[in-house]
């Protein structure tokens, strides 16, 4: 018993002592930190001060040599054993390289300015978009056959101004959090859109009811762990149905420098880079979501921009400041879509016929080939 008690006491004492040490260390730490801050402008690091004077001398030599950039040819920064020194040296090396690069750039620019109009044309950077493999389905606007095909497809009723878009927006069953807000905000972007709770209904049962009530679109937002991640866009009454992956959704509240809430005017629609036959179909699918005649009073634009098969959606308000300048203000929400499949007919994932389906490991061998 007694021994045990003493042991306990000892431990306690020890712990006390430890505490003291820890405190002392902390104080030291803060002290050194302060020192660091103060001496940041000095080239030599303060940490090595307590070390041997020999080491210090050699290091200062190194620093001097760096300034002249006269290392022996086989010298490498990575060979320095001290991590902090290595880091410091590396940063210096980087800065040096950057300076050289900037000087080169300045020199080149000066040369270009001196040459004036005779300057050689600038090199165009290589991107996977401008290196894109030519797609033989790219639509030629003069093509009679494609024009006829598009003129008589499922969207022709809208483009001939026979129908007016009316959109039903719903979600997967029991939506949570962001998905609900996302649907509400989508409904403010698309005129004549109605948000309904799914109530556990099957899509194949909803579709005939929608057709009976004159809806031309059914939009379903699917979610995973409270985050919207999929969209089914079904044109009514007889298709097609597109399935998209939804990513990087940013709601209105999360946007910086956003404008006031959008008005109820029907917006203008911009569709960018939908060039192939499939792209045309998708572009028409989006175009038919919005009414025919935009109300220019609202000064609102919905943009679907296709780049590398990703479709970026943005919603802006613009203003002409004077004859040259125009200002835009994002109203939100913003999101990115990627086409997964295009199915003929209304939603039928089991028995429907697919017009196009993304087969990632079968057809996407080349990164420079795009489908939209």
């Amino acid at each position: 018993m007694r021994t045990g008690f003493t042991a306990l006491k000892k431990v306690k004492i020890n712990s006390d002592a430890n505490m003291d040490i820890v405190e002392a260390q902390e104080i030291k730490g803060t002290f050194t930190k302060k020192k660091n801050k103060k001496q940041k402008k000095q080239p030599t690091p303060p940490l090595t001060r307590s070390d041997d004077s020999m080491v210090k001398e050699t290091e200062t030599e190194h620093v001097d040599m760096l300034g002249e950039s006269a290392f022996p040819p086989e010298f490498r920064v990575s060979e320095i054993k001290n991590k902090q020194r290595r880091h410091l040296m590396f940063m210096k090396l980087k800065l040096e390289k950057r300076k050289q690069r900037m000087a080169m750039k300045k020199k080149k620019k000066k040369e270009r300015d001196a040459l004036g109009d005779k300057a050689p044309p600038k090199n165009v950077p290589k991107t996977i978009e401008n290196q894109r493999i030519y797609d033989e389905t790219t639509v030629n606007p003069e093509d009679e056959e494609v024009a006829f095909d598009e003129g008589t497809d499922e969207f022709s009723a809208y483009f001939n101004r026979l129908t007016h878009p009316k959109v039903l927006i719903t979600t997967s069953d029991r939506p949570r959090g962001r998905t609900v807000r996302f649907c509400r905000q989508l409904a403010t972007v698309i005129p004549d859109a109605h948000v309904y709770y799914r109530k556990g209904l099957a899509l194949k049962k909803i579709i005939p009811q929608c057709v009976a009530r004159g809806f031309t679109y059914l939009m379903v937002i699917n979610e995973d762990r409270k985050v919207p991640n999929g969209m089914v866009l079904c044109h009514l009454p007889d298709g097609p149905t597109a399935h998209f992956k939804v990513s990087s959704v940013r709601l209105r509240k999360e946007m910086k420098r956003r404008g006031k809430d959008p008005t109820e005017h029907s917006p203008e629609v911009i569709l960018n880079n939908f060039t192939t036959r499939l792209g045309h179909s998708i572009g028409r699918l989006f175009a038919a979501l919005f009414p025919h005649d935009p109300q220019f009073v609202g000064r609102q634009v919905a943009t679907f921009h296709n780049q590398r098969d990703f479709i970026f959606f943005r919603f802006h308000r613009y203003i002409f400041k004077n004859e040259q300048r125009v200002g835009i203000q994002e109203l939100g929400p913003r999101f990115t879509l990627k086409l997964r499949s295009l199915q003929k007919g209304t939603f039928d994932s089991k028995f429907g016929e697919y017009e196009w389906i993304l087969k990632r490991h079968e057809n996407d061998v080349c990164r420079r080939r795009f489908n939209l």
């Binding site: 033989e136 389905t137 093509d143 009679e144 056959e145 494609v146 006829f148 095909d149 008589t152 036959r277 003929k344 089991k350 028995f351 429907g352 016929e353 697919y354 017009e355 196009w356 389906i357 087969k359 079968e362 057809n363």
Partner: protein, 379 residues
């Protein structure tokens, strides 16, 4: 038009109502129609050869007309009204010596004889395909949704000569739905192979007393839409709505291999009658020709409209046509050489046992490849 149509070896019918001819050797595609009179109700449902010499293509449209296209003249020579558009789309088209056989979705199978009255057979509702037995012209098979396989003898149209029976109930004792999407007669036997909308491939044998399928296998998870029998026996090529094509072995019902590269659902599928080639077309607007031996994609042609059906001529699509230019003639001489090689090979084949057949095929391929090279050299 005539010179265009003569070089074509593949014929494709599109949803926009255009008949397309494709020459694989010259890598060209032609439209055979007038753009002024295009309409959706001319959508091509079925294609078929009008005569055994393959000089006439029969084109069945949605509006119930069957047009005859002459491949020699390159124009539509004849138009017949075979039913109304209200009776549904054509599901099959065939010719016998003197008559034209048509079948529509509502199940009305009709034989249009010249001079005499038409024979009408009711094959039941929702017929999705009618096919003719290539060896016996007066036999046709029909099948559809909740409408099992039936084989009809057109001489005796009252009752079918074979009616299939649905398979037994499943392990939950529930009825298995029937949905025949396509069928084909296996040559040199009575057997018929069908594919269903519930991704089954079934083989029926009318010669045996069993009315249920003698072999059943499954491929994938999506409805199979088309099927075709290649030249070499005991295999079948099937395609589904997601654009998956597979070669199935008919001896055990196993997948031999898949044909890749399709982006959309398959609508039409046909194998070359003698060469190991298969042409497929579908909703992705491409005509694709695969080799059945190494399963590689040989040709890919963009045809601008959704395609419904494909028809291959029996001549070699790689070699030109029966044209008049000199280089083509040279190619023809080589065809003769190939034939000689084939004749000698057949001698060996007769002697060889069944197991050795594949090796023989491998030998057979080589001279063909050399001729391709020769042809290129000639060009």
């Amino acid at each position: 038009m005539a010179d265009k149509s003569q070089i074509c070896s593949v014929w494709v019918g599109s949803e926009t109502g255009i008949l397309k001819g494709v020459s694989l050797s010259k890598k060209q595609a032609f439209n055979f129609c007038e753009f002024s009179c295009l309409s959706r109700d001319q959508e091509v449902c079925v294609l078929g050869w009008g005569d055994p010499q393959e000089t006439e293509v029969l084109v069945g449209s949605v509006n119930g007309t069957v047009k005859t296209f002459s491949t020699e003249k390159g124009i539509f020579t004849e138009t017949r009204q075979c039913g109304e558009s209200t009776q549904g789309r054509f599901t099959g088209l065939a010719v016998t010596d003197s008559a034209l056989i048509t079948c529509v979705e509502t199940g009305l199978l009709r034989v249009w004889k010249e001079g005499s009255e038409t024979v009408e057979i009711n094959a039941g509702k929702n017929v999705s395909r009618m096919r003719q037995n290539p060896s016996q012209c007066n036999q046709v098979a029909t099948g559809g949704k909740e409408n099992g396989l039936k084989v009809w003898d057109l001489e005796r149209p009252e009752t079918p000569i074979f009616t299939s029976k649905n398979v037994r109930n499943d392990w939950l004792d529930l009825r298995v739905p029937e949905w025949v999407r396509d069928m084909a007669f296996i040559p040199n036997s009575d057997k018929i192979v069908t594919c269903t909308g519930l991704h089954q491939v079934r083989v029926y044998d009318p010669a045996s007393p069993q009315r249920r399928p003698v072999l059943e296998s499954e491929f994938g998870e999506y409805p199979l839409t088309a099927l075709s029998l290649p030249a070499n026996k005991d295999s079948v090529v099937v395609g589904n709505t997601q654009g998956q094509l597979a070669i199935l072995d008919l001896r055990k019902g196993l997948v031999r291999g898949c044909l890749k590269g399709l982006a959309g659902g398959v609508r039409g599928l046909q194998c070359h009658p003698s060469l190991p080639l298969v042409a497929s077309c579908g909703l992705d607007r491409f005509l694709r020709v695969h080799s059945l031996e190494d399963r590689t994609l040989q040709h890919k042609v963009y045809l601008k409209s959704r395609l419904n059906c494909v028809l291959l001529s029996s001549r070699d699509p790689e070699l030109g046509s029966t044209g008049v230019s000199t280089d083509v003639e040279e190619v023809k001489e080589e065809v003769g050489e190939v034939d000689e090689v084939w004749d000698t090979m057949e001698m060996i084949k007769d002697k060889a046992k069944k197991r050795a057949t594949e090796e023989v095929e491998a030998v057979l391929v080589e001279p063909e490849r050399t001729t391709k090279k020769k042809k290129k050299a000639v060009k």
